[in-house]
C-alpha cells in the first residue's frame, strides 16, 4: 500500500479555469486528478443537447482536455475520476477512447463507465409505485411538475467508481455522481478502506468537500486578508494528500500562487454547509464538528480527528423541470442624483407595465451600486454616487408577457430621467427557466453499473 495518495482537483465547476487540470498534472507529483463538471441544472442542458444529437449530452470540454493530458497521465501513472459523462456516459467514454487511440495509447488505457444514475425513463413507474419524489425543500409531490420534467438523476456515491478502479480503469467517467465521491473513491481503492469504516469514509468525504470547489480553498474568493494573497493570476488548485489512517493534508503545487492556510480551509469547510453534525452523502454521514485543523507549514493544512456515521438508506435525486421564463433589463444612471433617477425610472417603468396589464409571478427591482447585494443594510444611498445601475427582472409562465417587458427598457432612455446610458447589449433576452427539484429515493431502487472498455 502507498503511504500517501495525492488527489488533485482540476475544476471547481463546469467552466472553471481551462488550464487548471493541465497545471495540476504537469506542476508536480499527483496520483489522481478529480474533475467535477456537474452543477445542479447541468443535466437538463445535456438532455437537450442529446435530444438534438444522440452523440452529445456530456461535458464536451472533457475530451480535448484528455487529449492534452492523457500522455502525461500515462507516463506519470495519474488516474482520472470525472463526472463528465452527463446523460451520455458511454458517448463520452467512446470519445475519450478515440482520443487515446489517436494519441497512440491503444492498449495502455482502460476507461471505466459508471451508469445507472439516470432515472428519467422510470419516473412514472416510480410514482406509480408510491415513490413520490417529494421536493426536499418544499415537500410538494413531484406530480405537480410531472409534465415539465427534463432530467432526473440519482446521485451515485464512491462505490461504483471504486469498482471501476479495482477493475483496472485509468479513467473513470460517471454521470451524476457526488463531487465528494470522486475524491473518496481513489482513497477506498488505494487504502482498502472497509465499506463500514465510517470515520475514514467521512474523512475522505471531507477531503472531497474541501477540494471540490477548486481554488476556493487555496486563496480564491478568500475573505481573510485577501489583499495579501499572492499571485492569484497563477493560483494553485488544491491537492489532498491523504494517508491510510484517514488523516490528510490540503496543499497545492510549489511555485503556484494563492494560499492554503487555516482561514482559507475554514472558509471552504463552511461553504454551502447545512447542519454540520450530519453532512449526508451516499457513502456516509460526516460530522463537521469533529474536524481538527493544524498548520502544517507553508501552504499546508493538516486535517484529522474526523468522525462519521453510517450512510442513510436513501440517495438524493436531482430533477430538473421547466419553470417558465424570465428576463432582466438594466440601465445605468449617472451623477448627479444617480439613485433618485434610477428610482424614478423604475416607477415610470412599472406604471407602463401596469397600463399594459402585464402579469408576472415576480418582479424585482435592484439598484446596483447602492443596495443590490446588501439591501437596507447598505444604508441610505449617497446623493453623490457616480452611477447606479437600475436592474429590473421579471418571471412568469407567460412568455409573451416577458417578451413585452423586454421592449419597455430601451424606451426609458428617451422617455425617462436624464443622464442614462448602458444599453449597448440591446433588448434583454427571454430565458427559459430550468429549475431544480431535489428529492430522495430509497437506495435499493438504484443499481449502478460499471463497464470497462479498452482504448
Amino acid at each position: 500500500m502507498k503511504e500517501k495518495i495525492r488527489i488533485a482537483a482540476g475544476q471547481g465547476f463546469w467552466g472553471d479555469l481551462p488550464d487548471a487540470p493541465v497545471r495540476q498534472v504537469e506542476g508536480g507529483p499527483i496520483d489522481y486528478l478529480m474533475l467535477d463538471y456537474l452543477a445542479e441544472v447541468t443535466m437538463s442542458i445535456m438532455q437537450k443537447q442529446r435530444a438534438r444529437d444522440p452523440n452529445a449530452g456530456y461535458a464536451r470540454d472533457f475530451v480535448p482536455l484528455m487529449r492534452r493530458i492523457l500522455p502525461a497521465c500515462v507516463e506519470r501513472g495519474i488516474k482520472v475520476t470525472a463526472n463528465a459523462g452527463g446523460v451520455n456516459v458511454a458517448g463520452c467514454a467512446a470519445a475519450v477512447r478515440d482520443v487515446a487511440r489517436d494519441l497512440g495509447l491503444a492498449g495502455q488505457i482502460k476507461i471505466g463507465i459508471v451508469t445507472g444514475d439516470d432515472i428519467l425513463d422510470r419516473v412514472d413507474e416510480l410514482l406509480g409505485r408510491g415513490i413520490e419524489l417529494r421536493n426536499m425543500d418544499t415537500d410538494e409531490p413531484l406530480s405537480r411538475v410531472r409534465d415539465r420534467i427534463q432530467s432526473a438523476n440519482a446521485y451515485l456515491g464512491a462505490a461504483p467508481i471504486v469498482e471501476g478502479l479495482n477493475r483496472g480503469a485509468h479513467v473513470v467517467i460517471t454521470g451524476r455522481a457526488t463531487d465528494t465521491g470522486l475524491t473518496l473513491a481513489p482513497l477506498i481503492h488505494e487504502f482498502g478502506w472497509a465499506e463500514d469504516d465510517w470515520n475514514r469514509l467521512a474523512a475522505g468525504t471531507i477531503a472531497g468537500h474541501i477540494i471540490e470547489c477548486g481554488a476556493q480553498c487555496s486563496g480564491g474568493n478568500c475573505q481573510f486578508n485577501w489583499q495579501d494573497i499572492p499571485d492569484l493570476a497563477n493560483v494553485g488548485f488544491p491537492i489532498a494528500e491523504a494517508s491510510p489512517d484517514g488523516t490528510f493534508v490540503i496543499t497545492k503545487h510549489d511555485g503556484t500562487g494563492g494560499r492554503v492556510n487555516l482561514p482559507s480551509v475554514k472558509e471552504q469547510l463552511v461553504y454551502e454547509m447545512g447542519d454540520p453534525h450530519g453532512y449526508i452523502t451516499p457513502d456516509c454521514v460526516a460530522d463537521f464538528t469533529t474536524i481538527q485543523l493544524a498548520d502544517g507549514g507553508q501552504d499546508r493544512v493538516r486535517v484529522f480527528g474526523i468522525e462519521g456515521r453510517p450512510a442513510t438508506e436513501f440517495l438524493k435525486v436531482s430533477i430538473s423541470y421547466s419553470a417558465g421564463y424570465k428576463a432582466v433589463g438594466t440601465l445605468v444612471y449617472s451623477w448627479p442624483d444617480a439613485y433618485a433617477k434610477a428610482e424614478a425610472a423604475d416607477k415610470i417603468l412599472r406604471a407602463r407595465l401596469d397600463r399594459l396589464g402585464l402579469q408576472f409571478e415576480q418582479i424585482l427591482t435592484e439598484f446596483v451600486g447602492a443596495s443590490a447585494t446588501h439591501g437596507s443594510l447598505a444604508g441610505k444611498p449617497s446623493p453623490d454616487l457616480a452611477e447606479v445601475q437600475l436592474r429590473v427582472g421579471v418571471r412568469g409562465d407567460d412568455r409573451k408577457a416577458i417578451e413585452r417587458f423586454t421592449k419597455e427598457i430601451a424606451p426609458l432612455i428617451l422617455t425617462g430621467p436624464p443622464g442614462v446610458t448602458g444599453f449597448a447589449g440591446g433588448r434583454p433576452k427571454v430565458e427559459e427557466i430550468v429549475a431544480y427539484w431535489p428529492a430522495l429515493i430509497p437506495k435499493n431502487e438504484i443499481t449502478a453499473r460499471v463497464e470497462i472498455i479498452d482504448a
Binding site: V270, Y271, G274
Partner: protein, 114 residues
C-alpha cells in the same frame, strides 16, 4: 462599546435552494466566545430584516471557531428561479459582517479591540 463584526470574524456564504448559509469564523480563537454569545439566531434574523423572510437556524462549530447560520426564504425562490443579482447568496457573508455588537469596554480592552 459597539464593535463591528468584521473586526471579529471572516465569513463565507452560499446557497441551498431558497436558503442562504453563512459560515462565520472567528479571526482569533479568543473572539469565538464573543461571537458565540452575541451572534444569536434571533440577532441574525433581526439583522437581515426584510432580506430573510423565513427562520434562522444556528449551529456551533467550536472546533473551527465558527458558527453556521441557515437563513431560510432569503434568495427570491433560489437557484434559477431567483431574479436577484446574488441568487446564490454569495454576499450574505459580508452583509453579516456589517453587524454591530455591544461588548463592555473592559472586554474590548482585554481583546485588544480598543
Amino acid at each position: 462599546m459597539k464593535v463591528q463584526l468584521i473586526r471579529l470574524a471572516h465569513a463565507r456564504s452560499g446557497d441551498k435552494g431558497d436558503t442562504a448559509n453563512v459560515g462565520l469564523i472567528a479571526l482569533q480563537p479568543e473572539f469565538y466566545p464573543i461571537i458565540e454569545r452575541e451572534v444569536t439566531a434571533a440577532r441574525v434574523k433581526e439583522h437581515f430584516k426584510g432580506i430573510c423572510h423565513g427562520d434562522v437556524d444556528r449551529f456551533e462549530l467550536p472546533n473551527l471557531g465558527a458558527l453556521n447560520f441557515l437563513l431560510h426564504e432569503s434568495l427570491g425562490g433560489g437557484g434559477t428561479l431567483s431574479l436577484m443579482t446574488d441568487a446564490q447568496g454569495k454576499t450574505f457573508s459580508t452583509a453579516m459582517l456589517r453587524m454591530q455588537i455591544d461588548i463592555s469596554e473592559e472586554e474590548a480592552r482585554s481583546l485588544g479591540l480598543t
